[in-house]
């Protein structure tokens, strides 16, 4: 330890220090970069969904009056009448456009107004046959492509062959708008309608109800079974080969691809047990089996987090095992259990693949009548619409995603709040 060594080693260590601090700064930068990338993806994803989907929340309606020409209406077979054609001719008349012999113009005009108009006219006549011969005024949504034009997504600048609407149709639309017959408003139909082959009439209500039913079924089965199973495994099961096997088994189940659960549902529930296809009951059962391991694992983790001292305290007081668990351990773990349950149900809510396996891709207009009747669910609705050919469905896909994400974020937020509020440090 001579003084001679001091100087060089001091230089060295200063140089080293500089290097070390630089390395430190670099390392931190990597971390920040990773966060920025991850959050960047999130922002882009959400922004993209919103950008593609926000337009779905308003739509355009047209107010048109239809003269119910008794000559053109066959009273014997009301359903056989083509009221849409009638309305389209009325519209053309209003636009002072002469229909051609082939009725091509009427045909094109028909493509501007929702088919709903025909049903409305039919309904009006059925309600009161006396209206035939009068002129009635209806307000109905415009056809999806017309709506897109109003929203600026179909542009006149694109060559006519590349777009869904002809120049003539665009002219008509412009004129209708100029005459104040077209009104833009909040698209409540999107929330009150179910799936439809017509984009402008397709809504998410059926899917939302279907999802809710299915989630209820799943929760009703998976939550009690999962929590109680976890309680048994964590608190009662004799530690040994059997419980070790069950533990491994459950951990594996949690990581089994969800599509495999779909196969299970398909074979076990539908083929062997004769459950109905596409039904919330079957879907709920599949999702219940799928969330069971996650609920068990989350519950076990929450139970594990309860310090053993609490158990010892209760046992030492002369409480039985069951009393210990149900009086102390489970209440202590409740927030953690709730969080786990909500998160796994939120996950189940967004699950698609297993539902495809049990036939939930079927087209189901209207609301499910019972747990056993065919229904659609939100994520599958997204998948179906995404596959649809019409461009107008893309908007609806994004819209449905927004609805789905809102539900999911609400559930996640509940979980986060629960966890925050009850987070206990031991």
């Amino acid at each position: 330890m001579t003084d001679a060594r001091n100087l060089p080693s001091r230089d060295l260590s200063e140089k080293r220090l500089k290097q070390r601090h630089a390395a430190e700064a670099r390392f931190k930068l990597y971390g920040q970069l990773a966060i920025v990338i991850a959050l960047g993806f999130l922002v882009v994803l959400l922004a993209r969904v919103v950008q593609q989907g926000y337009t779905v929340f308003w739509t355009h309606s047209i107010t048109t009056s239809v003269y119910l020409d008794p000559a053109r209406i066959d009273r014997a077979d009301l359903e056989g009448n083509n009221f849409d054609y009638l309305a389209a001719q009325n519209l053309l008349k209003r636009l002072k456009v002469q229909d051609d012999a082939l009725g091509l113009a009427s045909g094109e005009a028909m493509d501007l107004v929702s088919r709903d108009l025909g049903y409305r006219i039919l309904g009006a006549i059925k309600d009161d046959p006396k209206v035939i011969g009068t002129t009635l005024t209806f307000t109905v949504p415009v056809k999806a492509n017309a709506d897109l034009y109003y929203k600026g997504e179909i542009e006149r600048s694109t060559p006519e062959t590349d777009r869904k609407l002809s120049n003539r149709q665009l002219d008509w639309l412009d004129r209708l708008e100029a005459e104040g017959l077209v009104r833009s408003h909040f698209n409540s139909d999107f929330f009150t309608n179910s799936d439809s082959t017509e984009p402008e009439q397709a809504g998410v209500l059926g899917a939302v109800v279907g999802s809710a039913l299915m989630l209820l079924v799943a929760a009703f089965i998976a939550v009690p079974v999962g929590v109680l199973a976890a309680v048994w495994l964590e608190e009662f099961a004799p530690r040994g080969r059997l419980s070790g096997f069950i533990e491994v088994n459950i951990n594996n189940l949690a990581a089994v691809p969800s599509i495999v659960y779909g196969l299970l549902g398909l074979v076990l529930f539908i083929n062997w047990l004769g459950f109905p296809r596409s039904a919330p009951l079957t879907g709920g059962l599949v999702l219940a089996l799928m969330s069971l391991p996650t609920i068990i694992i989350a519950t076990r983790a929450a139970l594990k987090a309860v310090p053993p001292s609490i158990r010892e305290a209760a046992l030492g007081m002369g409480a039985s095992r069951t009393q210990t668990v149900f009086h102390h351990v489970l209440p202590q773990a409740a927030p953690g259990v709730m969080t786990g349950i909500i998160l796994s149900l939120a996950h189940a809510l967004g699950e698609t693949a297993p539902l495809l396996m049990i036939g939930m891709v079927a087209f189901t207009p209207g609301l499910p009548e019972s747990l056993a009747s065919a229904a659609s669910v939100l994520p599958v609705q997204v998948f179906i619409w995404e596959n649809a050919a019409e461009a107008a469905f893309h908007e609806r896909t994004a819209g449905a995603i927004i609805v789905l994400l809102v539900f999911m974020i609400l559930m996640n937020a509940t979980a986060v709040i629960l966890r925050r509020r009850f987070e206990k440090r031991w």
Partner: protein, 478 residues
Amino acid sequence: MSFTLAFALLLAFSVGVWWLGRRRASALAGGERLHSLPGYYGTWVALWTGIPAALILLLFLTAGPRLGEALIAADPPAAVASLPSETAQAFWNDAQSLARGEPTTAIQWTPEQRAALEQKAEQARQYNGFSAFAALALAGVLALGGFLLAWPRISPTLRARNQVEGWINIALMACSAIAVLTTIGIVASLLYEAMRFFASVPPLDFLFGLQWQPQIAMREDQVAAKGAFGAVPLFAGTFLVMIVAMCVAAPVGLFCAIYLSEYAGRTTRGVIKPLLEILAGVPTVVYGFFAALTVGPLFRGFFNWIGSWLAEGPLDPLGQYLMAVQNEMALTAGVVMGIMLIPYISSLSDDIINAVPQSLRDGSYAMGATKSETVKRVILPAALPGVMGAMLLAISRAVGETMIVTMAAGSQARITANPLDSVTTVTRQMVELLTGDQEFDSPRTLAAFGLGLTLFGVTLVLNIIALRIVQKYRQAYD
């Protein structure tokens, strides 16, 4: 309806019995010391009253109708014996429906069939009425009997608490059994259907075949041609997508975890963690949508642009290739799947890094180590096995992920290492094979189960290894 009522009645009766039992025990408490709290005596009697009866009701509810069907189908009328099996099935269904007063199928039965139908329906009605009555009566007898048997045994020395806890224990065990049954169910159903598949396609051809053309087998006359069900291209595609995904997710996820647990302050962490959780909670179908409608076109545009820039230059072939790149490619699916896995990896790693005791950090800082040195030399080595386990779990998830690949990967089964190619994956093929019309005797449909079984096997092995590692590591600090 009557069963719902029966259950309600039983419940009400049990509650009453519970109350009575409790009161009786309380009264006994005056004299001697009770073994258990009065409530336990009540519960004990109520259990004896309610459980056997409820079980009987449940049994009749589930097995009763089947038994009835079997009974009335035991002697088929002559009119039915000649029918083809499908129509016969419809006949029996209609008989049941008729018995229950539900609408029948649209099949127009011949008059004698109609008569047989009516007769069988009457039989079924009788059976249903009898069985319901029998069930209800039996349940009533059991409830009353249980009560009468249990009631006199209420005494201060009765170990009511222990017995009630025995019942609870059995219930809990039954719940755990469901988890095991699920596994058995998965294995059994996959195996069963897969065996049927392997009956027509030899397993070795399936596992090692290089050709995947399931549509060939659709034609009944052509017995599944050799090589048409070779799963190797599917696994190659799956593997390629997984590699791309891990290239994105592993570094980003790990560094996110490190930053969050070591560098971020409490508030930063409080903001970023929930955001990452949102990323984790986004349903895969949304990722698929994002991949198909945003990332795919973006990549395609990007590569096409590069291609157009290279074309007709010295790298013309490459340029031509790039110009022909499509929306659906392994890269798109992989990158989006990577995004999906980021929060998964980061939260698993975060847990594992946080499990490294603070005392180790303090120890390192007190030695004069900087944060990054502490992370690199103390925390990561300590957490490494756990992080490895997390990565394996992520891989297992990537392999089993369905929606993203279904919506963004493509459907050409090919063996390639080029991420710009369109590839198909196991899961995507399963979706393709099983959506739409399913004929459960065509190898095309059954192939999905072969794939499912293999997928299950692969992920099972991955999971077991990963969980072993993670668990072993967790115990290190216990």
